[in-house]
C-alpha cells in the first residue's frame, strides 16, 4: 500500500440541524496502522468515519488524507474516494450484479481497467476473502458474512491507500462475524491503513495499533489497546468497557 496514507483531522465540527454531532475533533492517523474507533451509540464515531471520505459534509474544520484536503467539489471527492475504500454495516453490495461484477465494476468504470485484467484481479481477491466459488452468483444470493467479505474484496479491488470500516460486523450472526474478522485481521497484519468503527473489542486488542474512544461527539481517550483496555483513564471509558464486558 501507499507510503503516504496519513490521515489528518483538524478541529472538525459537525451539526445535524442544531444538534452537534462532532465537537472540535483533531486527530492524526499514521499510514500502515490499524485504528479502532469505539464508543457508545450516538457518540459520533460513524459520523467521523464518514467525514474521512466525504460522505458527510461538515461545518467547521479540515480533513486531509495523504496530504490532500478532502474537498467539497464532486470531482475532488471522486478522485479522493478512488483511493479510500469503505466497508458498510449493511454491506451495500449491488444486488443486481454478480459477485464478480460487484468487484470489477469500479476498477473497470473508474480506473478504466480492461474486463479480463480486472476479473483476474477480482478472482484473486475473492480467493483471499474465501468466496471465490460464488463469483458467478448474484450478490443478493449470498449469506451476510459472505456478502461482507465480497464488500471487502470490492473495496480492495480499487487498490485503496486507506480502508474505512463502518461497524462491519454489527449486522452479522456470530459465525459470520468470525469469518469477516479473520479477513480484517489478515488485512491489518499485512500493513493496510485501516480505520475501523466496531464494538469488537477482541479485534481491537489483537490488531489495533491505537484505540480511540469517543463520547458525545468528542474524543475522550486514545491509547494503545493494552493500556486502554487494562486501565482506562477516564470514568466514561471505564463505564463503557464495563457495559461491554457485562453485556
Amino acid at each position: 500500500m501507499s507510503v503516504n496514507a496519513t490521515i489528518a483531522v483538524r478541529s472538525l465540527s459537525k451539526w445535524y440541524g442544531s444538534w452537534r454531532a462532532l465537537r472540535d475533533i483533531s486527530l492524526d492517523i499514521a499510514g500502515g496502522t490499524c485504528t479502532v474507533l469505539c464508543g457508545p451509540s450516538g457518540s459520533g464515531k460513524s459520523t467521523l468515519l464518514r467525514c474521512l471520505n466525504g460522505l458527510e459534509e461538515w461545518q467547521q474544520g479540515e480533513v486531509a488524507i495523504g496530504g490532500v484536503a478532502v474537498g467539497y467539489k464532486a470531482r475532488e471527492l471522486r478522485r479522493l474516494r478512488r483511493d479510500v475504500g469503505m466497508v458498510f454495516q449493511h454491506f451495500n453490495l449491488f444486488p443486481h450484479l454478480t459477485v464478480l461484477d460487484n468487484v470489477t465494476l469500479a476498477p473497470r468504470i473508474v480506473r478504466g481497467r480492461r474486463r479480463g485484467e480486472s476479473e483476474d484481479h477480482a478472482m484473486h481477491l475473492l480467493e483471499r476473502v474465501g468466496v471465490a466459488e460464488h463469483a458467478g452468483k448474484l450478490s443478493s444470493a449470498l449469506s451476510g458474512g459472505q456478502q461482507q467479505r465480497v464488500a471487502i474484496a470490492r473495496a480492495l479491488a480499487m487498490q485503496p491507500h486507506v480502508l474505512l470500516f463502518d461497524e462491519p460486523t454489527s449486522a452479522l450472526d456470530p459465525e459470520s462475524v468470525k469469518e469477516v474478522l479473520d479477513v480484517m485481521i489478515d488485512l491489518a497484519r499485512s500493513g493496510t491503513t485501516m480505520v475501523v468503527v466496531t464494538h469488537e473489542m477482541g479485534f481491537a486488542r489483537r490488531v489495533a495499533g491505537r484505540v480511540i474512544f469517543m463520547d458525545k461527539g468528542s474524543i475522550v481517550e486514545t491509547g494503545a489497546p493494552d493500556e486502554f483496555f487494562d486501565c482506562p483513564c477516564t470514568d466514561r471509558a471505564k463505564a463503557f468497557l464495563g457495559d461491554i464486558v457485562n453485556r
Binding site: A74, R78, R79, R82, F94, A135, G136, L138, A141
Partner: protein
C-alpha cells in the same frame, strides 16, 4: 435420522411397512385438501360461467332472429365502400370490411407504438428530473406532473386539436425543419424512404440484419452469464448486422416533401388528427410514467448510492449503473399498467377523427353493417390480445431481471 433412536417414531409415523423414512410423499394432507378444494371450486365456477354463456348466446340469437337481423362474420368479405383518411395499407372504396379492419388495427398499433416509445423516453427524463439535486429542475418537473396528470386526457386531446394545431401557419407559410420536414395546420410532412423495385429484398436484408444483431447479443449475454469470455462470432454477428443494416438503409432514396400547388407532395404526411392524438397520449402518459420512475428511483436504498459514491463513481454513472437497473424491477408492473392504459386510451382517436380501429370498425363499419355483436366481439378480442401481450412481455422481462431474495 438415526433409526435406532427413532424406532418408535418411525413405527408410528412412516408407515408400518417400514418404507424408507426419507422418501417424501407427493403431497401432505393439507396440500391434498387444498387441491381437492380448488378443483371443486373451479368446477363450480366453470359450470356457472358456462350456464351464463349459453343463456347469453341463446338470448342474443333469439333476439336477432326476432328482429330479422343478419348475423355472422361473412360481412368481412363484403365491400365496405368508404375510404380512410390515413392508412398504412391501401384502402379503396372497393376494399372489404376485412381490409378496413386490418388498416384500422395497423393505425391503432402505429399510434400505440409511437406513443409508448416516446412517452417512456419523456417520462424517464421528467421522472429523473423529479429527483434531480437541482431545485429549479425539480420544480419544473413537479409542475409538469401536477398540471398534466390532473387534467382529463380528453382535454389534452381537444387542446391539441383545436388550439395548438389550428394556430399553426398555413401550408404556404409552413415551419420548415432544415428544408426536409414541414409543419403546418394541415399536418406534419416528413421525408419518407422509397425502396424502388427491390423493396422485398431490402426488407428481407434489414430483417436478416436485425436477426443477426439479436442472435449476436443473446450469444454474448449467455456466455457472460456462464462466466465465459463471449465468443468472437457473437461480436461479429452484431457488427455485421449493424453494418449490413446501415448499408441497406443507405441505399434507400429519401423522398422529401415538396410544395406543389396548395399542398406538399411526396414524403409522408401525418394528418393533424394523428399529430394531436399522439402528442396528447405522449404528454399525458409521460406525467404518470415520471411518477413511476421517481418512485422506482426512490425505492433503491440510500446505501446503494453511498456504496457507489465511496467507490469513486460519478452521480451520472451511479444513476445509470446502480440506481436505474434496480429501480426498473419496481417499475415494471406499474409501467405495464400504464402501457395498457395508453393502448386503450388511443381509442379516443374517434373524438378527433383519426381513423383508428374503433373509429373505422366499431364506428363506421358497425353503422353500415349492423353486425354489432360480431364487431364488438372482434374489437374486444383485439384489445384483450394487445393488453395480454403487454402483460406477457413485461412479465417475461420481470422474470429475467428478478433478484434472488434470501
Amino acid at each position: 435420522m438415526a433409526a435406532s433412536d427413532q424406532d418408535m417414531a418411525s413405527g408410528l409415523w412412516s408407515g408400518a411397512d417400514g418404507s424408507d423414512a426419507d422418501a417424501r410423499p407427493q403431497l401432505g394432507p393439507r396440500q391434498r385438501w387444498a387441491r381437492r378444494k380448488a378443483i371443486l371450486q373451479q368446477a363450480a365456477v366453470l359450470l356457472l360461467v358456462a350456464t351464463l354463456a349459453v343463456l347469453l348466446v341463446r338470448n342474443t340469437v333469439a333476439n336477432l332472429q326476432a328482429r330479422g337481423l343478419a348475423s355472422g362474420f361473412d360481412f368481412l368479405w363484403q365491400e365496405a365502400g368508404f375510404k380512410m383518411a390515413f392508412s398504412l395499407i391501401a384502402v379503396e372504396p372497393t376494399s372489404t370490411y376485412g381490409r378496413v379492419f386490418l388498416a384500422g388495427l395497423l393505425n391503432s398499433l402505429l399510434v400505440a407504438a409511437i406513443s409508448i416509445v416516446a412517452t417512456t423516453i419523456l417520462g424517464f427524463i421528467i421522472g429523473l428530473a423529479r429527483v434531480s439535486p437541482s431545485t429549479p429542475v425539480r420544480l419544473v418537473a413537479r409542475g409538469y406532473v401536477e398540471v398534466v396528470r390532473n387534467l382529463p386526457l380528453l382535454l389534452h386531446l381537444l387542446l391539441w386539436q383545436t388550439v395548438i394545431l389550428r394556430s399553426l401557419p398555413t401550408v404556404r407559410e409552413a415551419i420548415g425543419f432544415g428544408d426536409v420536414a414541414f409543419l403546418s395546420n394541415r399536418g406534419l410532412y416528413l421525408p419518407a424512404p422509397v425502396a424502388g423495385g427491390a423493396a422485398a429484398i431490402l426488407t428481407a436484408a434489414v430483417m436478416a440484419g436485425l436477426a443477426a444483431i439479436v442472435v449476436g447479443c443473446v450469444v454474448r449475454r449467455r456466455a457472460r452469464a456462464r462466466g465465459e469470455t463471449p465468443p468472437r462470432f457473437g461480436l461479429a454477428l452484431v457488427a455485421g448486422g449493424l453494418v449490413g443494416n446501415a448499408a441497406a438503409i443507405s441505399t434507400l432514396d429519401w423522398q422529401i416533401p415538396m410544395l406543389a400547388g396548395f399542398d406538399y407532395r411526396g414524403g409522408l404526411k401525418l394528418m393533424p388528427e394523428f399529430v394531436s392524438l399522439v402528442a396528447a397520449l405522449i404528454i399525458y402518459n409521460a406525467a404518470f410514467i415520471a411518477e413511476i420512475v421517481r418512485a422506482g428511483v426512490q425505492s433503491v436504498g440510500r446505501g446503494q448510492k453511498e456504496a457507489a459514491l465511496a467507490l469513486g463513481l460519478s452521480s451520472k454513472l451511479i444513476l445509470r449503473l446502480v440506481i436505474v437497473p434496480q429501480a426498473l424491477r419496481v417499475m415494471i408492473p406499474p409501467l405495464a399498467n400504464q402501457y395498457t392504459h395508453l393502448i386503450k386510451a388511443s381509442a379516443l382517436a374517434t373524438v378527433v377523427g383519426f381513423p383508428d380501429l374503433v373509429n373505422v370498425f366499431l364506428g363506421t363499419s358497425l353503422n353500415q353493417t349492423g353486425r354489432a355483436v360480431e364487431i364488438v366481439l372482434i374489437t374486444a378480442f383485439v384489445y384483450l390480445t394487445l393488453s395480454a401481450s403487454v402483460a406477457l412481455a413485461t412479465s417475461a422481462y420481470a422474470r429475467r431481471v428478478k433478484l434472488v431474495e434470501r
